[in-house]
Structure formats: C-alpha cells, structure tokens
C-alpha cells in the first residue's frame, strides 16, 4: 500500500482545503510532518480513522469558528479524502458529513463514505455497504492501530508486549493473527467444529439402535464435559496467575518490612540508649555543680594560700621567745616579785611591763604550733583544690562527650524512625501472603484433578468410538449425515493442522524478524522469545544494556520492532508445494503496508533515536512521521538522506492550523 495524498476540508482546526502529499520515492521514503504540540499532528491520524471507519476520538469534528458562525438554516460540510495505491489498484476514499443548524441546535447527518476504485484508468464507485467492506478488506479496523500508530498506542502496545500479558485471546493476539492472515481461518475452524457437533447430535437422534444411540450420547456428553473442564482450566490459569502475582507482591512487601522490623528493634534500643545517656548527662550536670559547691572553695583559695605562705616568711620575727622559758615561769617570777637576776619586781617598775609582754609570746601562748598546724592544713587544702580542679576539667570533658553522644544517637534514631512506617501492616501482608499461596496451591490441585478427568473422558470417548465403529449404519439419513460429518471433520483436521503449522512457522519468522530489528537497536544484547500465547519474553545478555533498556523508551522499541516484523512478514511471498495449501495461500494478500507514526520518539534517548532512524526505513516502503518541533530537527538530521517530503503544521491560533510544505 502506498499513500499518495490526504486532503482535508474543514476538519477541526484545518479550515478550507488543505493537502498533504506523501513521498513515494523508494530512495526517500520518509515524509516528515512537524508541528508544535497541539498544532494538529494527532488530529491527522484521527482523520485517517474517520475516513476509513467513520469513527474518531473527537466528539466535534467541525471547525470551532465555522461552528460558532453558523446561523439558523445554515449548512456546513466536513470532508476528507485519502488517495492511495493498494494491490496495484488506485483508490480514492472520501468521507463527508453535513451539518445543519436549526435555531440553536446543530444536527449532524450521517457521514457518507464513497470509494472510487480506479483500474487502468477506469473508475468504479462503491458506496454504502460495499464501500465499507472494501475498506475493511484493505485495512481492517482491528489492524488500523498497528499501522497508524498514535503516540500513546505505541507505548501501550509495547507495554502489553513487554509485560507478557498479551494472552491468546487478547486484542493483541487477535491482531497478530489477523496480520498473519489467520483470523478468518480460526472463524472457519470454529464453524466447522460447530457443524460437526450438530451432525453428531442429529446422527444420534436418528439412530434407531439403542446401544449405538447410548454410545453416541455418551460420546457427546463426554465431549461436553471436556469443554466445560477446559473452560474451567482457562479460568484456573488466570486465577492462579493472579494469586501467584499477589503472593509475590505480598512477599516483596514483607521483605521490605522485615527490614522495618529490624529497624524497629534498633529504634527501641537506640531510644533506650538515649535515655541512659540523658540520665548520665543529668547526673553529670548536677555533680559538676555540687562538687563545686562542696569543694570548689579549696581551689579558689589557692591564691590566698600563697599569700599566706608569703606572710609566714615573717613568722620567725614575731615568734621570738626565750628557749626553755614558758609563761608559767614568768608568772612565777612576777608572783614572787623577784627576777632571776635577783632584782625586786614591783608593778610600777619598767621591768614588770617587759616581763608581762613576754607572757604574751611564750608558750603556751606561742603561735608556732598553730602556725604549723595551719600550714599542714593549708597544704592539704592546696592539694585538694588541685584535685578538685582536675576532676572539674574531666567532668566538663565528660559532659561534652555525653552531649555529643546524645546528638549522634538522636540523629541515628531520627533517621531510623523516618524509615519505619506502618509496621502494623506487616502482619496483614503476612496473612494475605498465606491466603494467596493457599489459593494458588488449591487451584493447582484442582487443575491437576481436572486434567485427570479430561484424560479419563478422552479415554472414554476413544473407547466408545471404537465400539461405534463396529456398528453398521442403520438408515439412509444417518448414512448421509455420517458422510457429511466425515468431510467436515476431515477438512477441520486439515485446516487445524495447517493453521497450527503455519502459525508456528509464522511465529518463528516473526520472532526472527523482531530479533533482527532488535539487534539493530541493541547489538544482540537483547533478544526476545515468543511463547504460544504471543507473549514476549525479553532476554537480556548484558547487564549494562538491560539497565539502558529498562530506563524508558524500550516499550516503543518493542512495539516498533514487532510491527516492523509483521510488516516485513506480510510482504513476503511464499511458495508452497502442498496443493491444499495453494488454495489457502491464494486467498492471502501480500501487501507491504506503510507506517504512520505520531510522536514515536518522545521517550527516546539519543542512542535510541539514532537506531530508530536507522532501522525504520528497513522495515517498510513508506514512512510518515508526525513529530513535534523539539524532536523534529533531530529526526531530520538522522534521516537526512531519506526524507522525501517535509511538511509543517503552523498553529495560527487555538482553532486554526495551516499545513505548509517545507519549513
């Protein structure tokens, strides 16, 4: 398929006739459309959708200005047209819608689809149902999102694929099957199965032989049971996946909190330590001052003690006495009134005064002893004073230390406490984890039992069928029905095995193609594996790369790789030896679809951007990229040689945009 141009008339912000022509140059296959955000890039992809299917994401497709300027009785028209070549035939697909205003209300008529099919210059017009069918044949609605990639859908598809949650019945799996051409085939096989069952029932009803009938009934019943069992198995699978995931989730939470439990213990220990430190601190504080109170004075008196020492240097002077003579002796002399030398002593004589004075300084009135005692005390005071001072210094140091300890431990405690939250939840999580595990185990058991039952039923069916083969066909009707059923079953078997085979082959090819594209992006460090349900498993061979990979943008890469691979597969023509397959093969269309992408690179880093620009052109014949003005220049630089056409959407105001070629 090669898009030629898109023509827009009055669709939302695109007022008047505006046209984008797409590059079909095989050397320069990229058309780039740059527009600032909300200029209208996304609108254009919606326009394609609207043209093909009459649906888009907008409620109102009229231009705002046009809408507001309408008066009662006026009509307005919105019309869009796309021209392309498909399977060597030119198509003009046009959709138009008319709007009428009556008084204040605007009515929208149904949109009209017209398909012009131009073969060898002769044009044939299709309308109504025929037109719709033709469009679907060319690009089925289910497949549209995979070729017309809206920005978000790229991420969504990529995410779906990367998370492995696609599942056999998911939209995605269906889409893939459709892309590979299997969808209507699976419908066919379903129908054939239904018909086969119908035949079975009718045969049973028309069989007159009761034994035969019974066996047939049994077979039908067992087949129904098997169906029920298989349904149940599907449900069990989903449920057990869910329970498994949830129990994992709980375990992770518990582990995170086990850490918290440890922290809680540490926090309590720290709190206790803090209390201890606090009480030590308080003790120390009190002691510091109480020691000062009781002993401080001894240190303070140091200077005075030195002064006293100084004063004692005169001691000898004042303590002059007469050796061997004490006060008692002098008193005796005075009492007797006679001195040692024999002189008479009377109160009025001058000697009396001198002798009285002596009494003052002779023992026991001498102060030497007292002074000695004082000096001794003074020495011990000095000593104690110094000891006190030393202790005081130590005490202050300890105080400082305790303060520090306190500060540090408090810090630690605060940090730990911040990290602990909701410890009560742990027990909840533990409970839930057990519940989920149990449920999972129960489901596993049930699934085992059911599988056994299925096996038993299958055995029963086989045995019954063997029995039945021994019987003869009872009447003409039954004979006919049997014949029909045989053909039906035979075709069914053939189709199913063909489908399985083909699907497996196509899956392998798909996987290969995806990996080839992946290699171009990631140099063989990452590969993918597809399982039977089309779930993608990503295998990384390089730690560095896996980080790079999971840091964003990879979903887009996965999606692109996948789509690229599908496009490539679709483009291949296969030759087949099996005659039966020839028929089916002929029904397949081998067309290479273009890729239309809206803002594919918004999550890309530099490296991914480069790879993207290298790989994308390899994947298909025509690429149209809508991109914002930030990424646009980068894309241009990287794809310089292969950009065939460039367009810019200029935002005139919130309701008007203009498409211009070039810058």
């Amino acid at each position: 398929m090669n898009l030629n141009y898109l023509e827009i008339y009055n669709f939302r912000q695109f007022l008047g006739t505006q046209r984008i022509e797409f590059s079909n140059d095989p050397e320069k296959k990229v058309t780039i459309v740059i527009g600032e955000s909300s200029a209208g890039k996304t609108t254009i992809i919606q326009i394609f959708k609207w043209i093909f299917y009459g649906k888009c994401n907008y409620k109102i497709i009229m231009n705002e200005t046009q809408k507001s300027e309408m008066e009662s009785g006026d009509t307005a028209r919105v019309e869009c047209k796309v021209n392309f070549i498909f399977n060597k035939i030119e198509y003009n697909i046009k959709r138009s819608q008319v709007f009428n205003k009556f008084s204040t209300k605007i009515n929208a008529a149904d949109s009209v689809l017209v398909v012009d099919v131009i073969v060898d210059g002769i044009s044939k017009q299709l309308t109504g149902r025929e037109a719709m069918n033709r469009v679907r044949e060319i690009i089925h609605e289910d497949l549209f999102p995979y070729f017309f990639l809206e920005g978000e859908s790229l991420n969504k598809v990529g995410k779906e694929m990367a998370s492995g949650k696609s599942g056999n019945n998911s939209q995605f799996a269906q889409a893939v099957k459709g892309l590979l051409g299997f969808n209507y085939l699976s419908n066919t096989t379903k129908d054939l199965k239904t018909i086969s069952k119908e035949y079975e029932r009718e045969i049973e009803k028309n069989t007159t032989n009761t034994q035969q009938q019974q066996l047939m009934t049994k077979v039908i019943e067992e087949k129904e049971s098997i169906e029920k069992y298989e349904e149940r198995l599907k449900t069990i699978k989903k449920e057990s996946e869910y329970n498994f995931e949830k129990s994992q989730e709980m375990s992770e939470k518990i582990v995170k909190f086990a850490d918290a439990e440890e922290k809680e213990l540490k926090s309590r220990a720290l709190a206790n330590e803090l209390n201890r430190i606090t009480s030590d601190l308080m003790e120390e504080r009190k002691t510091l001052f109480s020691d000062f109170s009781t002993k401080g004075y001894m240190y303070l008196m140091n200077s005075l003690l030195n002064d006293a020492d100084d004063a004692f240097s005169d001691e000898k002077e004042i303590d002059k006495g007469i050796p061997g003579i004490n006060a008692k002796a002098i008193k005796f002399l005075l009492a007797n009134g006679e001195c040692l030398c024999g002189k008479k002593l009377t109160k009025d004589c001058p000697e009396w005064g001198k002798l009285e004075k002596l009494i003052e300084i002779l023992p026991p009135k001498s102060i030497g002893y007292d002074i000695k005692a004082f000096k001794g005390l003074s020495f011990s005071m000095k000593d104690n004073g110094e000891k006190y001072y030393e202790n005081y210094k130590k005490s202050r140091k300890r105080l400082g230390q305790l303060k520090n300890d306190y500060k540090n431990k408090k810090n630690e405690l605060d940090i730990i406490n911040e990290a602990i939250t909701g410890l009560d939840e742990v027990s909840e999580y533990k409970k839930l984890a057990l519940l989920y595990k149990k449920k999972y185990a129960d489901l596993l058991n049930e699934s085992g039992t059911i599988k056994e039952r299925i096996a038993m039923a299958e055995n029963l069916i086989e045995a019954s069928n063997k029995e039945l083969d021994k019987y003869s066909i009872s009447n003409v009707k039954v004979a006919k029905l049997t014949k029909f059923k045989l053909y039906c079953d035979h075709i069914y078997g053939g189709l199913v095995s063909y489908c399985d085979n083909e699907e497996n082959l196509k899956k392998k090819e798909l996987k290969n193609e995806i990996n080839i594209i992946f290699d171009k992006f990631y140099n063989e460090k990452i590969s993918i594996d597809l399982d039977e349900d089309y779930n993608i498993q990503i295998i990384t061979n390089d730690n560095e790369c896996s980080e790079d990979f999971s840091s964003g943008g990879q979903e887009v890469v996965i999606a692109l790789a996948f789509i690229g691979a599908i496009i490539k597969l679709n483009g291949k023509i296969k030759s087949s030896k099996d005659t039966k397959n020839e028929i089916i093969e002929a029904e397949f269309i081998n067309e290479i679809y273009p890729l239309i992408m809206d803002a594919p690179t918004s999550n890309f880093g530099m490296r991914q951007m480069k790879s993207f620009c290298q790989v994308m052109p390899e994947v298909t014949n025509q690429i149209i990229v809508f991109i914002n003005d930030k990424d646009g220049p980068v894309l241009e630089d990287n794809m310089m040689g292969i950009i065939g056409k460039k367009w810019t959407i200029k935002k005139l105001d919130s309701y008007h945009a203009k498409i211009e070629e070039g810058n």
Binding site: R129, M132, N133, R136, E137, H140, N183, Y184, L185, N187, T188, K190, D191, L192, T194, I195, E198, L468, D469, Y471, S472, I473, S474, A479, T482, K483, F484, L486, Y487, C488, H490, I491, G494, L495, T579, K580, I583, I584, E587
Partner: protein, 57 residues
C-alpha cells in the same frame, strides 16, 4: 448398509477434488464475512454446512 469404516475409505479416495472445492468456497465466504461482519456466527455456521452438503452430495 455400509459400515462406517467403509464410508471413511470411500471419502479418502474422492477427497482431494471435493475437499478443495469446499475449502475454496468456505474460505471465501468466511473471509468476506470477516471483512463485512454482516452475518452473525450462527448463520455463518449454517452457510458453511450448506456448502459442504451441496458439494458432498
């Protein structure tokens, strides 16, 4: 009165031509319907059955 097994072997002989025809017709119908979505599944199955019975006659 034919045995079912006989019936089976007879079918095997004629298989290729008739089967080809059936497959061709059925697949065309199915594909058409897949694109147009006109016909509900129930009815589709009946159509396929009719094709088979027409061809097998």
């Amino acid at each position: 009165m034919k045995m079912i097994n006989d019936e089976k072997s007879e079918v095997n002989e004629v298989l290729d031509d008739v089967v080809k025809e059936i497959v061709r017709k059925v697949l065309r119908e199915e594909k058409r319907n897949y694109n147009s979505k006109e016909i509900p599944t129930r009815e589709m199955a009946s159509r396929v059955r009719i094709i088979i019975e027409e061809q097998v006659k």
